[in-house]
């Protein structure tokens, strides 16, 4: 998986270069849809079915801030469907590294929704692909218009992100009219301080690229049970942020292990399950 992710990253760099070179005419016909070849590369040409009845992707039609576009992946199977969701992947077709994040879903987690924040470079289709326990793939699609003006998919305050590198917070979202948290399915939000540098940013003076450094692996456990594991890339926003639900299993702690592409590991844990 890691090798295929890196190759998709490399492919993305190439796509970016072609994108710049080919962008010579604002009125030129729409470029060919990258999705068929992306889907082929990332999912090894396995067939995909329309997932509208099983999964949902929430994304704004217009990205307000290119650096912070909220998206929510939902994957609740209907009652009676005895399969499980094993993996959910988010692909931002026109981004320099299209594979934004791939989430392995803990088999006992009860997880049915993950919200995170993405960088969106251009007008693009976004795909959510779910792999079920029977091996079938399901896909849904949303179109997102790029942010306008001086907005950019870059850090706003990199000194702050670097000064607190790896600091993490976990927040249990109390049951309110705005939150579906119940004793049977709780909701939490994980926040990680990290600049998530893309490595695609060239210094105009030295013509050297600012090195990539981003959270490429994240594992969240409730006690010893996996809630989810993520492989991520540079499309995840500065200060990665994940809001998710989970079925309480009686464990008293939530544990997180994150690693960045520089090999640095960040660990943290918090007590959970108090009265809300």
């Amino acid at each position: 998986m890691r090798a295929s992710f890196l190759s998709s990253l490399a492919g993305g760099v190439l796509a970016l270069a072609i994108g710049f070179a080919g962008d010579g005419n604002a009125q030129s016909p729409a470029p060919p849809d990258p999705w068929p070849s992306l889907a082929g590369d990332l999912f090894h040409d396995r067939p995909m079915q329309n997932g509208d009845s099983l999964i949902a992707l929430e994304a704004p039609y217009r990205a307000e801030d290119a650096a912070l576009v909220p998206m929510t992946l939902r994957f609740a199977l209907p009652q009676g469907d005895r399969r499980q969701v094993k993996r959910v992947t988010l692909v931002i077709d026109q981004n320099p590294a299209p594979m934004a994040a791939s989430f392995e879903i803990g088999p006992n987690s009860g997880l049915t929704s993950i919200a995170t924040r993405l960088r969106v470079n251009d007008y693009t289709n976004v795909h959510e692909v779910a792999e079920l326990s029977d091996g079938n793939l399901y896909v849904v699609e949303k179109y997102v218009k790029a942010a306008g003006g001086c907005s950019a998919p870059a850090g706003k305050n990199p000194n702050e992100a670097n000064a607190h590198l790896g600091e993490m917070r976990l927040r249990e979202i109390a049951a309110t009219p705005n939150s579906p948290s119940t004793p049977a399915l709780r909701e939490a939000q994980l926040m990680i301080r990290h600049p998530n540098n893309s490595g695609l940013q060239m210094d105009q003076v030295s013509h050297l690229y600012i090195p990539a450094r981003y959270i490429d692996s994240l594992k969240v456990f409730q006690g010893d049970d996996l809630v989810f594991a993520m492989e991520g890339g540079i499309s995840i926003s500065e200060d990665p942020n994940f809001r998710f639900n989970y079925k309480p299993n009686g464990a008293k702690i939530m544990r997180v292990v994150a690693r960045d592409s520089g090999g640095k590991e960040f660990r943290s844990e918090w007590p959970i399950g108090g009265e809300m």
């Binding site: 962008d23 604002a26 307000e64 909220p70 924040r117 942010a147 003006g149 305050n157 940013q201």
Partner: protein
């Protein structure tokens, strides 16, 4: 054969001469002398388009006994050339400094119009990094807004003189105080104070009429209002809005907007609202007071939400 070469040379020379004269003939940017030796151009309160050539920010220049300092160069090289033509119409003193108040394209895409050996580009110590992170993206994304002809000649020119805290530029019997600020509108905001006339070029640390834009830190922006108010200026050229306004009263509307936005966002974070909802709801009570509100307020709310979650 030789004649053919001469002919080709002659045609090329004529073409170059034509191109050069076309550049010299660029119409002058409309200027106002807002204080003795201080000139500025009022940008439109619009989004960047091909039609407005990116001329949406207030930009200007200051003339000393020896030299000229340009403060922001506009949103296209064409606007920059029009500013250069306007300067040449006012003074024959050389342009020694070009100051960029921050990283946004409407303030520095005109830099290439001033790129010559005698000119030093000046900016916040964080500006080179911000240009490295965003420059290529801006060149690509503004192609759609400005069109091919205007974007093709834009070059990203980073500062070679950077300001960590405070620097004084002397234009000859005329001192400009350049001050670098912590993250607020962006992470590379720089102001220019002309001591002689008490004129402050605030860059986008001051917005009037045009809704403020938060691309650095909403709390930093709000807190900075007090520090800015202490600047001993008589009047300000805001980054967007009227050409000149009284100081420090010019800060009031912006401060009110930012404090309402922060208050709304804190309430929504506490209530467990998501980022998408906050983007649509926060700050809406200020809507009637500002132009371009729907273009930028949801973005400010988005950035502010992500920042305030860490409180």
């Amino acid at each position: 054969m030789n004649r053919l070469v001469y002919l080709v040379h002659a045609v090329l020379l004529a073409a170059f001469a034509f191109a050069a004269s076309a550049k010299e003939a660029e119409p002058r940017l409309l200027l106002k002398e807002i204080a003795p030796g201080v000139f500025a151009h009022e940008g439109l309160i619009e989004l960047t388009t091909q039609a407005n050539e990116g001329a949406i920010a207030n930009i200007g220049f200051i003339v000393g006994d020896d030299a000229v300092a340009v403060i922001d160069t506009g949103g296209s090289v064409r606007e920059g050339r029009r500013l250069a033509a306007a300067i040449a119409g006012v003074t024959n003193k050389p342009i020694r400094y070009v100051v960029n108040t921050h990283v946004h394209p409407d303030h520095l895409f005109g830099n290439a119009a001033f790129d010559s050996p005698g000119v030093t580009f000046v900016g916040h110590a964080n500006l080179p990094r911000a240009l490295a992170a965003r420059g290529a993206f801006y060149l690509s994304s503004f192609r759609r807004l400005l069109g091919e002809e205007l974007i093709d000649e834009v070059r990203i020119i980073p500062p070679t003189l950077t300001v960590d805290d405070e620097t004084v530029l002397d234009l000859g019997n005329r001192e400009l105080v350049l001050k670098a600020w912590p993250p607020a509108h962006t992470d590379c905001d720089l102001t220019v104070l002309d001591k002689k006339t008490g004129t402050l070029f605030s860059g986008d640390l001051v917005f009037m009429r045009h809704v403020p834009i938060v691309d650095g830190s909403v709390l930093g922006f709000l807190r900075l209002a007090d520090a800015l108010a202490a600047i001993p200026a008589k009047h300000v050229v805001p980054g967007h809005g009227p050409l000149v306004a009284n100081w420090p009263q010019a800060l009031e509307a912006e401060r009110t907007y930012l404090s309402h936005l922060v208050k709304d966002l804190r309430g929504m974070i506490k209530a467990g609202e998501g980022l998408g909802t906050a983007a649509q709801k926060a700050g809406q009570s200020e809507r009637a007071k500002w132009q371009l509100f729907d273009d930028y307020n949801p973005r400010n709310a988005t950035a502010g939400f992500a920042e305030l979650e860490w409180e």
